[in-house]
């Protein structure tokens, strides 16, 4: 089994040390799960998180760096838990899927922080961003500034694309407030879950559009 993940994420390789750090009882619990289903849900989570959160600087906003794919992130998360490099404690984190998702989150954050993703000040005009909670660490400040810029552009772009889509706009408002469960959003909007799920598909396509636009803008030099 090999990986396309490069440092500092490299671990998908059979170095003979797998599982040595994992307690026998934990391994037994891990083996009880419906892994084919769990893998599907985790892979979809990784794909959506990577798509929405990662905006590459090299004109390929629709691709992860170094030839990585979302499936690599999902596989890496499972491997880290099985190798004991991320220690799953069922008493502390009874929901294994949520725990694996947090590992995927960490991997994506590491990608965002990697030098490949670092966006130049010139391109992103970071100096224009006012941060409420400025970090004394210049690098942390830069990363946070980039995140705020990307988030702002993402939200603006989605609101523009959803201009004539009242349901999608309302759904976006709930997401902005931190509610992400379609069933709860449907209850609050007084509509069916199907309507919210349809809006989800439209919003997903809008994110795809924005990513394509971001790539094209870079290629023609329209960076602002």
């Amino acid at each position: 089994m090999t990986s396309r993940l490069a440092e500092p994420l490299v671990t998908i390789q059979d170095d003979g040390s797998d599982n040595e750090l994992v307690d026998e009882a934990i391994l037994e619990q891990l083996n009880q799960f419906d892994w084919p289903h769990l893998t599907r849900v985790l892979a979809l989570y990784a794909a959506k998180q990577a798509k929405v959160r990662y905006w590459g600087p090299d004109g390929h906003a629709d691709q992860l760096p170094k030839g990585l794919q979302a499936r690599d992130l999902a596989q890496e998360a499972v491997l880290k838990v099985y190798q004991g490099k991320r220690k799953w404690d069922p008493d502390q984190d009874p929901d294994l899927l949520a725990y694996l998702c947090s590992v995927v989150d960490s991997l994506i954050s590491a990608l965002i922080r990697s030098s490949d993703h670092r966006v130049s000040k010139e391109r992103m005009k970071v100096d224009e961003v006012e941060l409420e909670d400025s970090s004394p660490d210049p690098e942390e400040h830069m990363i946070e500034a980039e995140r705020v810029l990307v988030e702002g552009r993402l939200l603006d772009g989605l609101l523009r694309l959803a201009d004539a889509d009242a349901v999608a706009q309302k759904v976006l408002n709930h997401i902005f407030d931190g509610e992400t469960r379609p069933r709860i959003i449907a209850e609050r909007l007084g509509c069916s879950v199907d309507e919210v799920n349809n809006a989800k598909k439209r919003l997903d396509r809008m994110v795809d559009q924005l990513k394509k636009l971001a790539s094209v803008s870079f290629e023609v030099g329209e960076v602002s």
């Binding site: 599982n19 893998t39 989570y45 794909a47 596989q75 949520a98 989150d105």
Partner: protein
Amino acid sequence: MTNSRQRNFSESLADFLASTEGMTDKELDEALKAEGVDISGLVADVKAIVAKGERRRKEAWAHRMVAHGDSIVARLNTKSSYEKLERSHLIAEVSKRAQTGAQAFFHGYKEASDGDLRAMLAEFDAVNGVPQKDK
């Protein structure tokens, strides 16, 4: 979705887009295909990771059982082990080991058919001298 820290907008949006409540595996596969994810390859890779974990678990269990067995034999070989209380304790330990072994043995039989289970019960009854009912 993943922790108590306040999720920012992009994380929340991704959580929403990744929500899978009520989705079948077939629907999940379609959603993954739309994202360009080779799910069959990934499922196979994860299956290999899980299988390796299971091998390691069995090896660790076997190692522990051997150590436990050796410890019982060592104590049997000492003079004090012939004392009544110690012997009763050793019997309990051997019994516990047998029970653990049976649990580990049956662990891999979750998918056993009714026929398999009946055959195993008959085998255990025979080993333990349980009289068979008239069919």
